[in-house]
Symmetry: C2
Subunit: 338 residues, 2 copies
DNA sequence: AAACAAAACGGAACCGATTCCGTTTAAGTA
DNA sequence: TACTTAAACGGAATCGGTTCCGTTTTGTTT
């Protein structure tokens, strides 16, 4: 593989000139630029990214920490971030914490990214405590936390107001006249699952409605967990007319099971999901869901990390509000009663 | 940040000794090792991976090219590869070709990986022609192709025998007594979709069964595409008792739509999917599917790239046979008739 | 104790870029 | 034409590791 020296020799110029010719706004004569261009093509020259990184002290790599690839939430995030950073010529390396069940393992997973000299890291970990996150941030400055929030707004925490999202779902169902609720939550060790749940029940409480504790199943965000949770729910043999699910995957599982038991979703039971993933519009019936603006969040986090690591000056927001998308899986309770 | 020189100075040894102490099987006395360890800890030393890469001419990065993150197929692949390579201390960088619709864009996406000096590349592209792949391979030696096959077996092509998989599905349904078939395929520009389809209809042909061309919908692997395809299918108002779907996502969409139309899947209509993704066991009814051993394929491809790039000597297979997993969505046609 | 092989070691050379510094060339002004 | 100033340039120093080479130390054998 040809090096910059080979190019310089063939073009009859110094290595400095070749290097300068590769970046804009550097004073190199058109004549030299042309000679260098010819030489590069003749030698099929491609700059060595490792040498570049070493001398410029920029790896042009951003690390991305995700708790799994399975969920639509993080898939969307991954997809958006990859697109956004690739456009800027940056590369991402991945750490999937799927198998990591303890804080220690989660941090080991992070160290795997740090050791590679990423310029910055985007971390979407719903489970590490805020204390733990603070420790991490002090040890490693260029890190942003996605889908996490602090009590007071912080420029390095990008969050969706899931509490408000939970309230939106409750408001919608109460508005439809429902009074008997069931809930399938995500893993309650995760901050976002807590917030969604809390928002939901807080709104109900304000309206004087309480949910039978037996009808709250602490499930998870996976399809399979949703399946098990609904089965458990139905096993209780207690009436409910509305079901709020922690995310769309578990809502889809719920719809599927309810359907197979001959219960008509959108008529006998209203189901509301969360996240508004791509396929929510295509389930049968189409799923009413709280839309979480993951894409905006991801893009803004990318902007911030670009500002931080490469001196760009892109606009950044850190707080994102969900909104409700009403489809066919939720229906007025009055119709049901008659 | 402390460098190896700082460590050497503090430990009172040469830089060579420090470097040697970091790799096993290098002759360094226990005394020196100890002094160096102490110095490293005192300085909180972490080797600079870029400098390391430059001098060792190994980036320890493997590039991964995938056509999208959306499908379960590639998600599983990504997950397996990430796990396998991380275990070996390698890092992966991603190129998602989601938006790439032309060969040119797909190759640009590949160049994005090459420019980063990956030691090797794993590419799972179902759509580039074999000629195009050959060109790529000649330009860039350390590349393996996943889920692609050549007429004759090739050590750099890792493939699942999808043709046999298609036949398995057909054999199963014919065995159940079905004679009236409908098919929803993947995108026929993709090699694997072609093979699955060809295997299926070839088996039927051998049994003297032909499929009404109107009941073959050229759909896609996405849930949404499946939804549209089934609707189109039902719009034809032609009878069929068995439906073969190009993958599980579209099969799930089919089940959902059929169910909502009051058609009982597993009784009136048998549905067989392909891939056997994790949630296939949890749909209602549970999905009969052709199991594609993506995990094995991915692991073996990792082994091969480790052998190729780092002189390891792991066992490698390149051909993988699918098998059928019978669940509740397929049923004998005799029961239906009575 | 002498002789010798093997282990341990220090340090220079090298990997392939970027950047800084001092010099040459070109352009503009009087 | 002579002088000034800026643009263009060549090449050395640098980034932080690995590895090779020649020397010193250690340990074993006679």
């Amino acid at each position: 593989m040809a090096t910059i020296k080979d190019v310089a020799k063939l073009a009859g110029v110094g290595v400095g000139t070749v290097s300068r010719s590769m970046s804009v706004n550097q004073s190199v004569s058109d004549k030299s630029r042309q000679k260098i261009k010819v030489a590069m093509e003749a030698l099929n020259y491609r700059p060595n990214s490792m040498a570049r990184s070493l001398s410029s002290k920029k790896s042009n790599i951003i690390g991305l920490w995700v708790p799994s690839f399975s969920g639509s939430f993080h898939r969307k995030m991954l997809q958006t971030i990859e697109e956004e950073l690739r456009q800027k010529g940056k590369h991402i390396i991945l750490a999937n914490a799927e198998g990591a069940n303890t804080d220690e393992e989660r941090i080991k997973c992070l160290d795997y990214l740090i050791e590679r000299d990423c310029d910055g890291i985007l971390m979407s970990c719903p489970e590490l405590s805020l204390v733990e996150l603070a420790k991490i941030a002090s040890r490693y400055p260029n890190i942003l936390f996605l889908n996490r929030s602090l009590p007071e707004p912080n420029k390095n925490f990008f969050s969706i107001n899931h509490y408000a999202g939970g309230r939106l779902a409750a408001e919608h169902l109460v508005g439809l006249g429902h009074t008997e609720f069931a809930i399938i939550t995500g893993r309650m060790s995760a901050q976002d699952a807590q917030n969604r749940h809390q928002g939901f029940i807080d709104y109900l409480l304000e309206k004087g409605i309480t949910v039978d504790p037996e009808l709250i199943i602490f499930g998870g965000y996976k399809f399979t967990q949703g399946t098990l949770a609904v089965k458990e729910l139905l096993g209780k043999n207690k009436p409910f007319s509305a079901l709020f699910c922690g995310n769309d995957k578990s809502a889809m599982a719920a719809i599927s099971i309810l359907h197979s038991k001959g219960i008509q979703v959108g008529k006998e039971v209203s189901v509301v999901g969360y996240d508004d993933i791509d396929i929510a519009a295509y389930t049968a019936p189409a799923l009413t869901s709280v839309h979480a603006p993951i894409e905006s969040l991801s893009r803004n986090a990318c902007h911030k990390i670009l500002n931080l690591c490469y001196g760009e000056n892109l606009p950044v927001e850190t707080q994102f509000e969900p909104h409700l998308v009403v489809r066919k899986s939720s229906h007025s309770v009055n119709t049901i009663k008659k």
